[in-house]
Symmetry: C2
Subunit: 298 residues, 2 copies
């Protein structure tokens, strides 16, 4: 994870936050197909119960790499707070698996606003309170003339992700999410759920005052409606995934004018929507490649 | 999906259920790295709001291949009902995206029992009400002498899954879950979330009166705590995943004496826990294979 420190020159008062560290992997012994026993690393998954002004809100299952940013981003992405300045402090204590959030003036109607549950497709934090599509009308993303991407930049992004050191590389079974400006990696977070990872990035962006209009999200997870919606709420018009897309993710992106790339790794990708933001620089076609490409390989 | 019909000779009254069909995929146009536009299929993802005795419980995002079984299995796996006989009818109507559940005698204390939320790691239906680990003490799985698996049977399971026709093969971006007895595939369900798929199988098992003790689950998703817990509650002592394991999934399986296989495809696998149920029939080792195997490839 990069860039955890909040910028101090920010005009609004920033929340006080702990920086609760935790081990991310553990070794276990396995037995393989050759009858061999050997040690491998697996990611740790821990509960973190979020209390807002001493009221229990939710328990998130997390890797624990950036718990304070996760909690901040979760509250922002659930539209329970508007800015980090609404929060006075976030105190994570792994001894009791709790994150205590102290707000400055409370959250109005929190009972009513968290009463409606939607269990979404997402790996990880796949639950949103209230209407999934609420507030979408208010979203205005930069137009295709000002926020666009070249195929060569997309390749640089994929190459940066390929080279990134990660828990996934050491232990598998986690999702990664990254924020790019052009081909520059600004922030990278992994978690057992991809929604946790994107929430932590939302927390970081809000804390740093980083805007989304000229940024690109990379995720290892599928492009479901909730992932697309979260990116849209954060003002990010372009998403790249190593994985595929669902119909609701595609519909939402099309409606919002967002550009989605999926099945993206090495030099391969599919652009699913928002072709107008994309400067295609076609690869030379090799007949053998064309024949085997089904468009939906996992 | 196989075997939707409930057995009619069952002694307990079975719920009346619609068989609401729905399209599973849609075609979209994509742009690829060669600058070519072409059509691919993507899975459809639709909301299904569950009402229990006219009270709104939850909205599930689902592919919609087996909505009635999904709802039944969801209620069972959330421990809100004990048997299918608690339910009089399940009526799914895609026109209004709703599943109306009518119980025979209501669900006691439903307000209190659904008040506590845990957002878990899971792809899909990653939310449970109440304590994640509640009721585990009551689970007794068959011992390792009576419920075991040979490596050759595991290979047959993986080969059956490889050959299975699927939405995943046509459109990607869904998870599959299957129930096996030995190398015989009994039931296969896909959904946008792997928790939906396992819930639909739970619904089918309960409806058919199928016990879990001599069965094996196959899932394409990760072996997180919630997946392991659901299988345990359904009495299934062995799980095979194409994907990896998290530490809580591993801990739970170890504690319950369950056998987990991960990274399983073709002839490769890792046995993570419950070695005592597994009759290893080691492959001959090829040095070149050993060198490249990290144990954590995705």
């Amino acid at each position: 994870m990069l860039g955890l420190q909040p910028v101090t020159e920010n005009a609004t008062p920033l929340p006080h936050m702990t920086q609760a560290g935790a081990a991310l992997t553990r070794e276990i012994e396995i037995l393989d197909e050759y009858g061999q026993r050997r040690a491998i690393a697996i990611p740790i998954e821990r509960p973190l119960t979020v209390f807002v002004d001493k009221r229990e809100l939710v328990t998130l299952m997390t890797l624990g790499s950036a718990p304070e940013l996760l909690v901040l981003g979760y509250l922002l992405n659930q539209r329970l707070i508007a800015t980090p300045a609404d929060v006075e402090s976030i105190t994570v204590d792994w001894e009791v698996s709790a994150a205590a959030v102290k707000t400055r003036v409370g959250i109005e109607h929190i009972e009513a606003r968290t009463a409606k549950r939607v269990v979404t497709t997402g790996c990880g934090q796949g639950t949103v309170f209230g209407d999934v599509m609420a507030g979408l009308e208010a979203i205005v993303l930069p137009d295709a003339a000002s926020a666009r991407i070249r195929q060569s930049t997309l390749h640089s992004v994929l190459e940066a992700m390929r080279q990134q050191d990660s828990v996934h590389r050491r232990a598998g079974s986690v999702h990664g999410c990254a924020l790019f400006k052009g081909s520059e990696l600004l922030m990278f977070v992994e978690d057992v759920g991809r929604h946790n990872a994107i929430d932590a990035i939302a927390g970081w962006m809000a804390l740093q005052g980083v805007k989304g209009g000229d940024k690109l999200f990379y995720t290892t997870g599928r492009l479901t409606s909730e992932m697309v919606m979260k990116a849209a709420h954060m003002g990010v018009p372009m998403i790249v995934s190593r994985n595929g897309v669902t119909q609701m993710g595609h519909d939402l992106a099309t409606r919002l004018g967002m550009t989605l790339f999926g099945r993206a790794s090495n030099r391969h990708f599919l652009c699913y929507s928002g072709f107008d933001r994309f400067d295609s620089e076609p690869e030379p076609m090799r007949p053998s490649v064309r024949v085997v490409s089904s468009g939906n390989e996992e």
